[in-house]
């Protein structure tokens, strides 16, 4: 065999490696939500500090509704600081962040809020109606609503700064009253 041909041997592995690398492009894990693109279900709850929390009152602002529970480790523990950071960054830029605590004991939930120093409104969904309306199956789940009250995105699992920022910046950029793509 001529000298140079032998180098084909290592090179022949490259197509297979390329195929495997291609596999990273596809993401098999997304579960679509039937609610995306539809108006968010209205709700009115009482926050832990006693104030009233209702979705209607925030029409015109970008609203993020986050469903959590104190017994949800480790995901809710990971995203709580993310949410608090995001709240402090965006609250004066037209964002409303509402945390809905589901299937939880009040004391445990209050401890969770204290431990993480959460300053955005959090309320307990005692009857479970809100989570059912939103089709929440597990925690954490986060819904991104535009200024018109439409659900534009749903994120399942712990949020990161990047994901939060990406969704919110997009929605904040839209002026009120103008429908945008889902």
């Amino acid at each position: 065999m001529r000298r140079a041909w032998r180098w084909l041997i290592p090179l022949s592995a490259i197509p297979v490696l390329a195929l495997l690398a291609y596999g990273f492009r596809t993401n098999p894990r997304d579960i679509a939500s039937p609610l995306v693109g539809r108006p968010a279900p209205a709700f009115a709850l009482t926050a832990f500090d006693g104030t009233a929390v209702s979705l209607e009152a925030h029409r015109g602002r970008v609203v993020v509704v986050n469903f959590w529970a104190s017994w949800c480790y480790p995901a809710c523990y990971e995203e709580a600081p993310v949410l608090e950071r995001a709240w402090r960054t965006y609250r004066d830029r037209g964002l409303t962040l509402i945390g809905v605590d589901i299937q939880d004991k009040r004391e445990a939930a209050e401890k969770f809020i204290r431990d993480f120093g959460l300053t955005f409104p959090n309320a307990q969904d005692l009857t479970g109606k809100v989570s059912v309306d939103f089709g929440v199956y597990g925690v954490p789940e986060t819904f991104f609503l535009d200024r018109r009250g439409q659900i534009r995105a749903k994120h399942v699992g712990a949020l990161t700064d990047e994901i939060f920022r990406a969704n919110v910046e997009r929605l904040l950029a839209e002026p009120e009253g103008k429908p945008g793509p889902a």
Partner: protein
Amino acid sequence: MIPEIGRAASLVALVLALGGAVAATAGGRTGRSALVEAAQRAGVGVFVLISFCFALLTYAFLTFDFSVRYVASNTNLGTPFYYRITGVWGALEGSIILWAWMLALYTLIIVLRHRETTREFYPWVLAVMLSVLAFFLLVMTVAASPFERLAPVPADGRGLNPLLEDTGMITHPVALYLGFTGLTVPFAFAIAALVTGRVGDAWITMTRRWTIIAWYFLSLGLLIGGWWSYHVLGWGGYWAWDPVENAAFMPWLAATAFLHSVMIQERRRMLKLWNISLIILSFTLTLFGTFLTRSGIIASVHAFTQGAIGILFLSFLALVVLVALGLVALRWDALRAQGELDSVVSRESAFLLNNVLLIAATFTVFFGTVFPLLSEAVRGVKVSVGAPFFNQVNIPLFLSLIFLMGVGPLIAWRRASTDNLRRNFLWPVALGFLAALVAFGAGVRPTLAVLTFATTVFVSATIALDFGRATRARRRTGERLLPAMGGLLLRHNRRYGGFLVHFGVLVIAVGVTGSHAWSVQTETTLKRGEHAELAGYRVRFDGLSASEESNHAKVTGAFTVSNGRVLDVLRPAKKFYPQQQSPIAAVDYRLGLTEDIYLVLGDFARDGTEATIKLQVNRLVSWIWIGGVVITLGALLAILPEARRPA
């Protein structure tokens, strides 16, 4: 405390491994033994550190230290003691540390035992082992650290995946990883051989036992996986051609090929290139296997989560493949064949055919596994191929391989004369045909089953013939029967160990055939007192009961099984773990030599008056596990130290 200590220790281990690898390489190039000794000490140091990390993690598990994220994710206050230990390797991060620990253990053994016997190769073997170790330590410190801190510390953990609360799941990863990591050693020697240019038999002789042991653990891991699947998962099967199963099967196929082809190189000095390529392939496939399981590129019910770890693995895989194949290209001339195949009808030929078939099977499994990826890349359509594809293509290959098991050990080297063929194969072939007729006459109709039985009888006959003749020869010198047989086994332990392993494979083949051809199942809903009938068995639903365990609640159904007379009461259950999404079924079964009765509790009415069950009567499945035991005995026999020639 623990997270920080653990992270520090793993970081130090990583630095040591890298430094050691560099030192070993430099020592190999320059011949300076001081460098090699430094690398050696690094290897020992890495082992101590990883053992420490492992112990630390186990301690965190045992003391419910939920400040460690990994502990919180895999255990909770109700997890039983036993599963708190085994839960250490129950998820991704723990599996990496287990893998790294085993690699370190093997490195230590090489340092302790092979220093003297492997002179020239030693630095390079060390370099390779430490490099692979460094990679896994890198993954451990950068992408998948088990020592990440969770703050604030939760009051309770999530708990171990209930599917993992089983003895099978405890031993399965350990055995499998011992096999995977074990293949690193012959691979390291092969690289050493390539680098030093000494591509003769030396590296093979030195790693013979390693290869058998690694191969054995792979086999054991696969069998235990099948057993776990059978008795826990509730679908009544033991192998589904799932991508993760295939990922473990491919290295096994390649390793089996390697195991056989090295025998030709030892005898006839041929196939140097082939052997080196095979071990590179086997090792690469183990990396590919862990990559597949952890990268998420192929959807599987088994897979761990995805993330940056996939890219790390693919990069390392690419590095290993390109470097190894590059070395092969470099040493191409030295690897060229010296001997030639004399005849198609010879032992060399049989072994070659064995290899071709095994590689064909490896390729088939690989192709079927990555097919969804391929079809999407090429045609933009996501298509997958399921069990029918794998069975259809692999079954003829495996059947031919079984046939070869009978031919290979007896046929002559170089060129088999007609006389040799007649002497060795006339009776076995005749018996095989007879078996086929008997099977057919007894009502066995599936062609595959008839062929399998015939081939099994053929191979058994060749084994018996060989053993019988050899025993007779020994007895002619006056030895009594049992000592003659025992002496044979010990004196030629490699050969007879191999025979025993082959026999174990036959037993498994019969089990697989039986379970495929004759298993039956039914699904039905029963009211209290009603019964279901299948294959002569009557299963009566007696009622439901509830109980509370330490970390779950259980609903158990009582079913009386009879076939004329009462045989047993089976109690399949549904376990409710509070932290899990849904209940887990606990299968109950009655195992038998010829058939298993298998019962799954599906749905049930809340008041306990009705239950939906899945009932299976599986045939000959126990033979698969029995075959595993036989293979164990064979492997043990094969690795015994060579007996001395008696005076």
